[in-house]
Amino acid sequence: MYTQALDSLGKDCLPAGSTQGSALEARFQARVDADEKIEPKDWMPDAYRQTLIRQISQHAHSEIVGMLPEGNWITRAPTLRRKAVLIAKVQDEGGHGMYLYSAAETLGISRQQMIEQLLAGTAKYSSIFNYPTLTWADVGAVGWLVDGAAIMNQIPICRCSYGPYARAMVRICREESFHQRQGFEIMLALARGSAEQRQMAQDALNRWWWPSIMMFGPSDTQSKHTAQSMRWKIKRFTNDELRQKFIDITAPQAEFLGLKIPDPQLHRDEGSEHYRFGTIDWSEFQAVLQGNGPCNRERLEARRHAHAEGGWVREAAAAHAEKQRARAAQAA
């Protein structure tokens, strides 16, 4: 009910282009410009609402689908400490999904609707999770690179104009930076280990490097949503700025590990103090985005399977709750 009501507020109350609408829109933009937070009950342009729903739900789905490649190693973690840390990490990702679904719900969509969109294949999630985790080193690489890139993307969102999203992100970033350190620590143990372990770490870096730097999205010249999102302060930096920042931080870390980033053109430009890097193969990015990556099919299949297999459990919980309500009413 609550979410439905909010939804209609966005769509029906203000005919686009009306004088009243323009005045509200101007006031809205002034608040955003003044760095005020927009809250669920405040008026907001429908496009702002839809942009946030799209972005937050994609983010939530990414957390949930992201549990799969890492969860893949829980039963095989090489020590009990690593097992415990990995379980806690995957659990955190689920928790992030939960806050983010809740943040999106304040915009007029239910978690159920969002999950239906994910399962139907109409909602997107981060393409990075369509790559497989083939060895234990991949768990390290995912923490180090994927969580590292995610943090770079997400720290600016802590200052996003939409209050619930910004607040969810503060907590998420804190946990993600912990995960990133844990991932780096796994890589460090491998890099300092046997020749086989170092090879395992290098192979993981070879496979995860390019997909990780693609996580920042298309180049600024190609990005459809950047300009408007920046005006609304949903986004604070462009894709290319964030990618550059990530590479500048990560390249010396790879050096410290004694691993080689698989980009022959990567070098530090002494003048600008930035790392220059080779051309990104965007055709691969597009292919994975369109569903043709190595694990798109498996990831969605796993989500659909869990949802379908869990149907009777969710029905049981609902039926029991209903019986409890009826019994309480009868007793009263």
Partner: protein, 269 residues
């Protein structure tokens, strides 16, 4: 007392200490292995549960159980005194050296099977850890004091689900009852004391299993009543997981769990 008598008595005491130390080691290993094997099973669910909340709940249980296993196996390694540690015990013993309760290693099956297995073991661990709180072994008492808090939550989670499933829909009731019928046969082992259990009880290290059974049984009946489920008739097959004789399932679980350590022996992770 003559010198010879005193010497005999000392020898007797040291033999007793040795016996009870061996029993203590075996007892602590059993507890640690049961937590580890159950935690490993729950870890298989993560990312695949019926709803996000249950994914978080099962992961939480898995995490607690692996944590308990780490404390218990580290302690076992110390008692053993052969330079092994928690990982050596977890990853370099084969199935016959694992001494978990047979119930813990049973496959996850559907959500009902997992929850019934969990419920029966939570109720058991709850009694054990409460009993260990007054153990003469202060290290074990401290581990149990931490574990009992976790186990109370586990029991609330699993018994809550058992009631939801039993009282929910026809399908969930049928699945829960089937699960109960399927794994009830492993519950006798929970309370059949062998010489290890007797020695640790006699030494004041652990509670007497026979004293715990009525309370466990009452707990089980109370929840089954709320869940409208029938307690299966007891089928006393003498399972001996805690003596290292397992079902076929454990070997497969260990193959997966121990794969990295076995493939790269000596590596640090």
């Amino acid at each position: 007392m003559s010198a010879a008598n005193a010497a005999d008595e000392m020898k007797g005491q040291s033999l007793n200490a040795q016996l009870s130390n061996d029993a203590r080691l075996r007892y602590v290993l059993r507890l640690g292995d049961t937590s580890l094997v159950l935690g490993q099973r729950l870890g298989e669910w993560v990312g695949h549960s019926p709803a996000l909340e249950e994914d978080l709940g099962l992961a939480n249980l898995a995490l607690d159980l692996v944590g308990q296993a780490r404390l218990l196996l580290s302690y076992a390694a110390e008692i053993e005194g052969k330079g092994r540690d928690e990982d050596a015990l977890a990853f370099f013993r084969d199935a016959p050296q694992f001494t978990n309760l047979t119930l813990a290693e049973q496959p996850n099956g559907d959500f009902a099977q997992t929850l019934v297995r969990q419920f029966l073991l939570d109720a058991w661990q709850l009694e054990i850890y409460e009993g260990l709180a007054s153990s003469s072994d202060t290290r074990l008492a401290a581990i149990a004091a931490k574990a009992v808090k976790e186990t109370r939550y586990h029991f609330r989670f699993s018994s809550g689900w058992l009631i939801r499933l039993g009282d929910g829909t026809e399908e969930s009731h049928r699945r829960a009852q089937n699960a109960l019928e399927g794994i009830w046969r492993f519950t006798d082992e929970l309370f059949v004391a062998d010489e290890v259990d007797e020695q640790v009880a006699a030494a004041g290290i652990a509670p007497r299993l026979a004293d715990l059974q009525p309370r466990w049984s009452a707990h089980i009946d109370e929840v089954l009543g709320g869940a409208t489920l029938q307690r299966p008739a007891s089928i006393p097959y003498p399972w001996h997981g805690k003596r290292g004789v397992h079902t076929e399932h454990l070997g497969h679980m260990l193959t997966e769990m121990q794969h990295l350590q076995r493939t790269y022996p000596g590596a640090q992770w």
